[in-house]
Symmetry: D2
Subunit: 134 residues, 4 copies
């Protein structure tokens, strides 16, 4: 899988003259969307079937500051994939140095707000299992 | 009408160590929502009736920089109110000095995406006319 | 300590029609800034002395969705305060129901980028110790 | 000049399930930064010389809604370039249809906060004049 590239924008920096910490959570979302597109399961296809995929938990460790105009390379991997939740891990790098790492936990909800097991989408579930074992 | 107060947050500043210019457009939205609540017509009530109120045009003139932890006082007034569009004007001040002025233009759309005249909500239209003549 | 109130803004919602998960990280910052003001040590006073206080780690658990125009009440407490790092805990509630919990870890850096022990600010350190033991 | 491409992110949408209007102001900044890089005068080079380039005025007309995962193509042109201010125009398109147009006005300030004429950077000024006459 190709890492996702995010160029830090001016509006993503703050008074400390560094990328504001909340934005890394957004970079993780951008990379996650890209990861699922590369996997062949773009998020908007699930949306079209009435599936929502809320974030259940998120975490980020900040190692080194970044700022405009750094280009952050985000690698995504599947850390866990059970029937009702999956966990992704993110490694964010600038010029080969790790600047932050993160994790996010997700589930699928149907139109009625109830959890939908990933096994309801066998090809997706199988692709996730393959990624998990990489 | 009471001005709306927005305290500039750290995440709203940028590398120039000032409030990022895009955020004033958001302060205008916050003040607009507050203005309609004060007027007795909270936006979410229109939403509940299936009305969307998209922004058609927006503009902002930046006069003086602001930054965290400034408190910006935003006054809203009705500059124009026809059947199919209204224009609001915003004056943003810190400690009595104007820091920015703005305008925004809005319409109402129904569920089918078609324009809905404000006269479909006679009490709202009449309240807007009163504000216009202030 | 008085909880911090944040009204969810329209621009903080997303296509799922809920508050976007990244914004809770920002609400935590707003509440943290307010917490230190209530404690008598506003962050901008540290900034004026050349101290930066970067976020080292952040985490959030999402329990229930929120959306515009919910008012989120954020309670902050000190979970840990050593010489070189402190950890804050956040409980976010709407109408008495917990919607999210979070933690953030912080240090102090001087102008040279080196860690500054909180004991360099004895009154601040002592106030934090008192909060820790509450 | 190559148009700048921005993929609408999930966090840039709102409860109306469309791109929030404030984000177009940010897309304009992204495109502007890219425009100056293509012109051979990246903004961070001015910053390194102590020049700030605040936004003096901004405006945007919204023509058609966009949403995640649309790709917005932003074309930038120089509408005016005097000694102390320049005006840029933006045309934003999705699949060949104009979704929004915008303008932004800028000046240069030195470390002392005073205006710096663009003619202090003759190669930049000359490149801007060439773009103006295109």
């Amino acid at each position: 899988m190709r890492p996702y590239l995010h160029k830090v924008q001016y509006y993503e920096t703050d008074k400390m003259q560094l990328t504001h910490h909340s934005n890394y959570i957004r970079f993780m979302e951008e990379a996650r969307i890209d990861f699922f597109e590369q996997l062949g399961f773009p998020y908007h296809r699930f949306e079209a079937e009435g599936i929502l995929s809320p974030v259940v938990r998120v975490g980020c460790d900040y190692k080194k500051p970044t700022t405009y105009p750094d280009i952050i390379s985000v690698s995504v991997s599947v850390a866990e994939c059970k029937k009702l939740k999956f966990v992704l891990e993110y490694t964010m790098q600038v010029d080969g140095a790790v600047v932050a790492t993160g994790t996010s936990t997700h589930c699928f909800l149907g139109k009625d707000g109830r959890p939908v097991p990933f096994t309801a989408f066998p090809e997706f579930y199988s692709a996730m299992q393959k990624e998990l074992n990489k």
